[in-house]
């Protein structure tokens, strides 16, 4: 009887909790607070913080690998393995981020980009932060693969960051995902000072022509064209671009409304929870509480800032080339963070001209940024994988 009681008490997790776990609980609490009270990217930060708490509860066995023995060529399971050992396979086997992209594609209207295709260039220029942060990370002593994973934070695209990191530096998945989603939520604080610093009063007041109407035929052709050319030019980008454009084709074809709704509602909701918690569960104290994490957080801000600089500078070039027809403020929306970055461009524009509605114009570079960050990730994979 006493022996059973002792065994029961001994297996309790309390005895394995130390300061590192308590610090991680505090960090998870802060993330949860930001998600619930401040509303910062709650769809991802809440599952991530939940997963982080789980990761630091000792003896839970959630990540324990299965024990399999091959008997007569047949696998026999002696231990089934922890729940999150299997759910994490969704990241390791590159399943969750592309599925999220399928949902994003089904939710995204590329109309503003198609009506003003010049804004593709803003989405491209706003990837500057990805490669600039890469150099800073290398300078701080990160390996090239780690630096590439850190740099992609500048793409401001969570699924892309997770996808690339899981392939190049899976041990950094937790800090990079947290940095990416935290900074995406902080776009309204990070971007406006840079935008105001780089533009003149006259530039900020530019009222752009209303966007042209885009035909259904062009909207249907667009995902096919982008998918084919992206995969031909940068093959490693295939899983992300194929799913993004596949989702968009479901939406724009107009004949599979049920599938489009499934991708943009049920599927993306389910995958978001599993992706978030699977990322969170990588945040065990021993892998998260390192100097590297602080560097990643700092490099994340640099990446975001430089991406904003790249977008706004390209906006200024377009302002000059078009004789003042493009408002450079929409350049900052070239970082993905849909639709937050576009809203920031719109709000900063409104501060200087109360009748200047930049939202639809900013949505063009914003969705171009989604494609741009996937292409940037593909290029980094092509170089370093």
């Amino acid at each position: 009887m006493f022996e059973h009681l002792m065994r029961f008490v001994e297996q309790m997790g309390f005895w394995s909790i130390g300061y590192p776990q308590l610090i991680m609980f505090a960090i998870s609490g802060i993330l949860m607070y930001l998600a619930i009270v401040k509303g910062f990217e709650p769809l991802l930060l809440l599952p991530i913080s939940f997963g982080a708490i789980l990761a630091n509860l000792p003896n839970s066995g959630l990540l324990v690998a299965p024990v399999i023995e091959m008997i007569n060529g047949e696998p026999v399971f002696h231990e089934a393995g922890g729940l999150y050992y299997w759910i994490s396979k969704g990241i390791k086997l590159e399943i969750f981020p592309p599925l999220i992209f399928l949902g994003i594609g089904a939710m995204t209207d590329f109309g503003p980009l198609l009506s003003n295709p010049k804004t593709f260039l803003l989405g491209a220029a706003a990837q500057l932060g990805v490669f600039a942060a890469f150099i800073f990370a290398v300078a701080l002593g990160f390996t090239f693969k780690e630096a590439a994973s850190i740099g992609i934070i500048g793409g401001a695209d969570g699924p892309t960051a997770i996808y690339l990191t899981s392939k190049l530096a899976p041990h950094l998945l937790g800090p990079i995902a947290v940095a990416a989603y935290s900074y995406m939520a902080l776009v309204p604080l990070i971007q406006p000072p840079i935008m105001k610093l780089l533009t003149t009063d006259t530039e900020r007041k530019v009222v752009m022509e209303p966007p042209k109407k885009v035909s259904k035929r062009v909207k249907i052709l667009f995902p096919i064209i982008v998918m084919v050319f992206s995969i031909l030019v940068v093959p490693p980008t295939a899983p992300l671009i194929a799913m993004l454009m596949g989702g968009n084709l479901l939406r724009e074809s107009g004949v599979v409304e049920r599938l489009a709704k499934m991708a943009s509602n049920e599927l993306i909701n389910i995958v978001t929870f599993f992706l978030g918690t699977a990322v969170g569960i990588t945040m065990a104290a021993e892998s998260f509480l390192r100097l590297q994490t602080i560097f990643i957080i700092i490099l994340g801000v640099i990446a975001f800032g430089m991406s904003t600089v790249g977008g706004v500078l390209m906006g200024k070039i377009m302002y000059r080339l078009t004789g003042g027809k493009v408002n450079p403020l929409i350049g900052s929306a070239g970082v993905s963070a849909v639709p937050m970055a576009a809203r920031v461009s719109h709000n900063v524009g409104l501060e200087y001209n109360k009748h200047n509605y930049l939202l639809m114009h900013a949505m063009g570079p914003n969705v171009a940024g989604v494609i741009g960050s996937a292409i940037a990730a593909g290029i980094l994979l092509a170089i370093f994988k």
């Binding site: 990837q127 290398v138 035909s215 030019v233 494609i371 290029i379 170089i383």
Partner: protein
């Protein structure tokens, strides 16, 4: 070693940014081309529709009425009186819709005039 890494980083920056800009510039050119083609096709369709409208308007109206009356009379195998003719937008019509329309026509004044 440090400067080698920085130099490598600068190379990645150059290759990466050139790559992203080139791919998205390619998309810009393609979409611009597709948009131009779309405008051309819409204009062509509009011109075609306008030409068809002109042809119909320029037809001898009495002849057209006579042809349509004869065709309707043969189709319905009875004596009929045409009260109104209007153009239905030319779209592919299913056989069920055609049959329904014919039933509707034959259920009106046609019986009374026989």
């Amino acid at each position: 070693m440090f400067w080698d890494n920085i130099f490598e980083g600068l190379l990645v920056l150059t290759v990466g940014m050139t790559g992203v800009l080139s791919v998205l510039f390619l998309f810009y050119l393609i979409i611009e081309g597709v948009n131009k083609l779309e405008i051309f096709l819409v204009e062509k369709q509009k011109n075609k529709a306008e030409r068809a409208k002109t042809i119909i308007e320029s037809e001898n109206e009495d002849d057209l009425v006579a042809i349509l009356t004869a065709a309707a009379s043969v189709t319905l195998s009875s004596k009929i009186r045409i009260k109104q003719i209007r153009f239905i937008k030319s779209q592919p019509v299913s056989p069920w819709a055609t049959l329904g329309r014919m039933n509707l026509i034959s259920s009106h004044n046609i019986q009374k005039n026989q």
